[in-house]
Symmetry: C2
Subunit: 331 residues, 2 copies
């Protein structure tokens, strides 16, 4: 449970032998049912500290004085201090990058799940937009997106931005009471759980009559996204994609003011590599990247986001249930 940060689930993976899953007994039946790990050790909250149970498991694995890699990004400073106190003879090393690399290349089954998630999320957004009209509120559109997505198998809503009018300039606006107005802009950015994986799709549409300025800017944005996607190839570094997007924006006279233009996705929302100017990860087949350029206008933020899977020779776009290359105009 993400909102009870102390209720830790921990896995101790020895170099050889079976990994052990340390779980909270309150979630015991679920841990046994959902995990493929076979060695499970439970701790009872408040009677036992999860870190103490982990230290015992690690000692049984023979590494009480060993060298232990820790995903320090996901362990709190308090828990890590407790772990160091509990295992004074062990050496702890930040192992975040090992896990980043391991998660970056997806299995075919993972790609299938991520594709289903992204494609279904896109259908849900398209259908919810199609039902919206002048007068619809952000919240009504949000509810429609959630319902359409749930009907297709979507789970936990990770985040859901729906913005129109003055909220358009808030990148992560919560849906509220603002209503669609003629010649307005509607934007969503929506992430939802699909089994243990996530989707993350952003789309922008327009309320008729669309202005010439709106159409021009939108076409520039999707054109720049296409060019960015074309730069996603095995052998290139992640930062190359960021550079390609900056260049595509410049060529179209679009203001480029985004710290990243995309990210890997999987069990986490922003996995590595990140399509940002300093990420030198070399792209490889099997990576799943969200490519999400956006541009701030006087009319709010325009945003589009697609799932790209890297193949042997290039990439495949996996998230388009409809033609987003021309602006969607609601009546």
């Amino acid at each position: 449970m993400r909102d009870i940060p102390e209720r830790l689930g921990l896995v101790a993976i020895p170099v050889s032998g079976e990994p052990v899953f340390v779980y909270c007994t309150i979630e015991g039946e679920q841990a046994r049912r959902e995990s493929w790990l076979e060695e499970l050790v439970g701790y009872t909250e408040w009677r036992e500290q999860p870190i103490q149970t982990l230290a015992r498991v690690l000692a049984e694995q023979g590494v009480a004085d060993g060298r232990i890699g820790v995903e320090k990004r996901h362990l709190s400073a308090r828990d890590f201090a407790e772990l160091e106190r509990s295992m004074p003879k062990a050496t702890f090393v930040a192992a975040d990058e090992v896990f980043d690399r391991m998660r970056a290349i997806k299995t075919p089954a993972e790609i299938e799940t991520l594709t289903e998630a992204a494609f279904s999320t896109d259908i849900a957004i398209r259908r919810a937009f199609a039902q919206a009209t002048v007068g619809s509120t952000e919240r009504e559109i949000a509810d429609a997106i959630i319902a359409e997505c749930a009907a297709r198998g979507g789970g936990r809503v990770v985040f859901l931005t729906v913005a129109t009018g003055p909220n358009g300039s808030l990148v992560h606006a919560e849906p509220g009471d603002a209503r669609l107005e003629p010649a307005g802009v509607i934007r969503t950015d929506f992430g939802v759980g699909w089994g243990h994986y996530l989707s993350d799709i952003a789309r922008t549409a327009f309320v008729g009559p669309i202005t010439h300025q709106q159409e021009t800017t939108y076409m520039k944005l999707v054109g720049a996204q296409e060019e960015t996607i074309a730069s996603v190839r095995p052998g290139e570094q992640a930062k190359h994609v960021y550079r390609a997007c900056a260049d595509a924006f410049a060529r179209r006279g679009l203001a480029f003011d985004i710290p990243h233009v995309g990210h890997s996705i999987g069990v986490g929302l922003h996995e590595r590599p990140m399509l940002q100017p300093f990420d030198e990860t070399v792209l490889e087949p099997g990576m799943a990247l969200m490519v999400e350029p956006g541009v701030m206008t006087t009319d709010g933020f325009y945003h589009t986001e697609d799932l790209i899977v890297i193949t042997e020779n290039g990439n495949r776009v996996c998230s388009r249930s409809a033609d987003w290359a021309t602006p969607m105009v609601l009546s």
Copy 2:
């Protein structure tokens, strides 16, 4: 954004002078709009590390070689290591308990929000249950709860358990395709955002015809909850409430196998005090506690949960929109 754990929001609070909010520029307009803090310093993701920006702010506050309290439960081990590296002359002290104490006593406005959240969540559950019949799926009931709650002002779904049949024994089951059957049990545990605050309500109902065994067990559970609530008084320790619940279960011949029987709530789901056997926090007026006993039966987990606000002389139950003291039986 909770699912991008690296996108930190940090506040540096000096002993005297203005607190400074360190925010990510991507969320800049939102930070300015939603925060009551007036001093804001942004960092641009990837170009600047949030911890470096924080260290600069702290140095400007004059504590480069000072003593700095850190909420270590909410800072990752990686970020804390970075903070120690960035401020080699400072002394860092775990300050989690200071924040726990500060959050434990709610202001009248906070109590009003928490009450509205809890009461509205309870109405939503009651109405969704009332619409359910034999054949309804867990997912349909979950969707109805979400829709009813959103219509009343509920925000982000923090977690939503809906369980019937064999899933009844999973404490935090995700809603699935299981259908209500005659003489079955339906249970939910639902937490939702209300502005920056949270609700958390658990309820159990029955599909007719209710069996004698079900009715007896349910009545024992709600009776035990009443006795537990009666033990919530200023001046008592939190662990006393746990003990009172254990005693109430024993007197009724109910198996008592729960690590805690409730918790404080606010901006976090499980705040302090926790109603667990080792928490010696003295209860005070203005505390908001969830009291949530549950009992595992051959028929699944029976669970009930209410918001209790501690007053000068005792407490007030703030979450009952209907009579849950007798079993709700769906047709």
